[in-house]
């Protein structure tokens, strides 16, 4: 395989887990890869972690303008560096930032792109990827002609492992170029939320929650295990939850370790968005609800009764450990 570059992502000096997941998978396949991380300031924690997870080399693209994420600055700096390195493969995590800059980077190379892949396979000089489409109702294999092959990898799918720990770290002065669009302010959510697409555990509610206030039952339960709270389209359309909580074909596609569906019947569009979850729990009054066919564990019962009891059990568990 030629020159493989993974664009690692960091925020405030902490590396995103998906970057480590990708490096770990590259190590398992015996592929030497350079991790490129745009940023500024002390990134030693990030570079150490990238080396620990098998990066054969880490390149910090350093510029003050890369301290915070910016679409054009990241694209320009990455292209300026990568275009001098004769890359055969460029990959990154399918995070909100990864999904944002990668199409622009692919366009600069005038090459093909495959987004949000759940696996990739190196074979000789070629790489092929598999990506879910129709929100996971099916998947397809994608192969690339022309270089570099550019793709992003879905978070939470690949396991992390530490590798050879022998990689070197290099700093390169980056050129972010000129920028026409920038974030001028950020308003954090009033409630501290775990990002759905990166969450290990998700507790979701449907229209049976009956009101926005009742979602508190789910957030109380979520808080005990650091889970994110999601919602079905029916709940979002009824105004019980904002759209950024929607799981499904017109919302977010998620693959947590544990997905707990409360009062969600399991419409085809919702199942599409969460079916790759490792373990699915369904809590629903209707024993015939389609969600039970996808669930590893099912509780036929009233969520208003079951969820608070579940919260108590989880609290007990946490206090023991």
């Amino acid at each position: 395989m030629g020159n493989v570059f993974i664009i690692a992502e960091q925020k405030d000096g902490n590396v995103k887990r998906v970057s480590l997941e990708i490096l770990s998978e590259l190590s398992r396949q015996g592929i030497a890869a350079t991790a490129v991380v745009p940023g500024f300031g002390d990134l030693s924690k990030v570079t150490d972690s990238l080396v620990d997870h098998g990066a054969s080399k880490v390149v910090v693209l350093e510029h003050e303008a890369l301290n915070q994420y910016n679409t054009e600055a990241y694209t320009n700096a990455l292209y300026q560096y990568l275009s001098s390195q004769n890359p055969s493969v460029v990959l990154t995590g399918a995070t909100s930032h990864g999904k944002d800059f990668l199409p622009r980077l692919a366009a600069k190379f005038k090459t093909g792109i495959a987004a949000d892949c759940t696996s990739f396979q190196f074979s000789g000089d070629k790489v092929s990827v598999r990506r879910p489409i129709y929100a996971g109702k099916c998947s397809k294999m994608v192969e690339f002609s022309g270089a570099p092959a550019v793709f992003s990898v879905r978070p939470n799918v690949l396991a992390t492992q530490t590798g050879s720990k022998s990689g070197s770290v290099e700093k390169v002065a980056a050129d972010p170029g000129s920028v026409k669009a920038k974030v001028v302010s950020t308003v954090a959510s009033q409630v501290k939320k775990v990002e759905l697409t990166e969450a290990d555990i998700i507790i979701s509610g449907g229209r049976s929650l009956k009101s926005a206030d009742n979602f508190k039952i789910l957030s109380d339960c979520a808080a005990t295990v650091g889970a994110a709270v999601g919602a079905s389209r029916a709940a979002v359309d009824a105004g019980y939850a904002p759209h950024d909580m929607q799981v499904g074909q017109t919302g977010k596609t998620v693959s947590p370790k544990l997905y707990i569906a409360c009062g969600i019947s399991g419409a085809i569009q919702h199942l599409a968005g969460m079916r790759t979850s490792k373990v699915i729990v369904a809590i629903n009054k209707d024993p015939e609800a389609p969600i039970f066919q996808k669930a590893d564990y099912g509780i036929v019962g009233d969520l208003f009764e079951v969820v608070p009891l579940l919260t108590e059990e989880l609290k007990k568990l946490k206090s023991q450990s």
Binding site: T71, Y134, E198, I299
Partner: protein
């Protein structure tokens, strides 16, 4: 102001996906085709922008086989002024589609480009950025609010960030803006609109007309698969308290996920 809206025709979300015999696509016989839901928000935002500015024209553009003209007619029925069809059959990847759309944006002298944050069939979420880069326009995605300055040289955008955060973005125009659900409520086509749309002349280009006759896709799809069926699970027994206790035990000891 020349407002361009990029749309895609996709299978309705109710579609039960079946894989075609050659595994290079899905069966399309019984599919109900609709405008990509996120692109409906983009059309509405284009129309609203024209109404707020009290001037301009909305041109809706799509790439695909003859059937995709229907999506353009629906957009015209909603109120779009012009429609452009890039007629192309077969497998088209993000590279070809974006090249073609960018060429039309240049021809139409696009001053603002709206599109959906992703199409719900291929889920690539890449066309907005690819087109923007080809045009050398700034881009922003997952946008839930868009305000154009009075002098039409800038836009202030609200972007859905991670973990419920909202980013306020300022951009110069022209720009490509990819919108999310929540930005507006798309209007229905009016009866006069539907009548007008039936007769509307649609500008048509082939890829060759756009100087892309010798271009081919840079990615190839194969081996479409349905996801593995999940094995039937366990239904827990007993009263609610027993079930809750048993669930936590199973998640801890059997599934090992908490």
């Amino acid at each position: 102001m020349n407002i361009i809206v990029l749309v895609k025709q996709v299978p309705d979300t109710e579609t039960k996906v079946r894989i075609s015999a050659d595994k290079r696509g899905i069966e399309t016989n019984d599919i109900k085709w609709v405008i990509n839901p996120y692109d409906e928000f983009a059309i509405e935002e284009g129309l609203k922008t024209k109404e707020r500015l009290k001037e301009g024209a909305v041109t809706v553009v799509t790439v695909g086989p003859d059937r995709t003209v229907e999506a353009l007619r629906t957009a015209v029925a909603m109120g779009a002024d012009h429609a452009v069809h890039i007629k192309a059959d077969g497998m088209l990847d993000t590279y070809i589609v974006s090249r073609a759309l960018a060429e039309v944006c240049k021809k139409e002298n696009a001053q603002i480009v709206f599109t959906g944050k992703q199409a719900i069939d291929d889920d690539q979420a890449a066309t907005f950025g690819y087109v923007a880069e080809l045009l050398q326009y700034p881009s922003a995605s997952v946008i839930i609010k868009c305000e154009i300055s009075a002098d039409k040289t800038k836009a202030t955008l609200e972007q859905e960030g991670d973990s419920g955060a909202k980013n306020i973005i300022e951009t110069s125009l022209p720009a490509v803006i990819a919108v999310n659900k929540g930005i507006n409520t798309p209007r229905y086509a009016s009866l006069p609109g539907i009548m007008k749309a039936k007769k509307k002349e649609i500008k048509t280009y082939t890829l060759a007309d756009l100087g892309l006759g010798s271009e081919t896709s840079k990615t190839a799809d194969s081996d479409y698969q349905l996801p593995p069926e999940r094995a039937a699970g366990k239904k827990l027994q007993g009263d609610a308290a027993t079930q809750a206790k048993e669930l936590v035990r199973l998640l801890r000891e059997e599934a090992k996920v908490i």
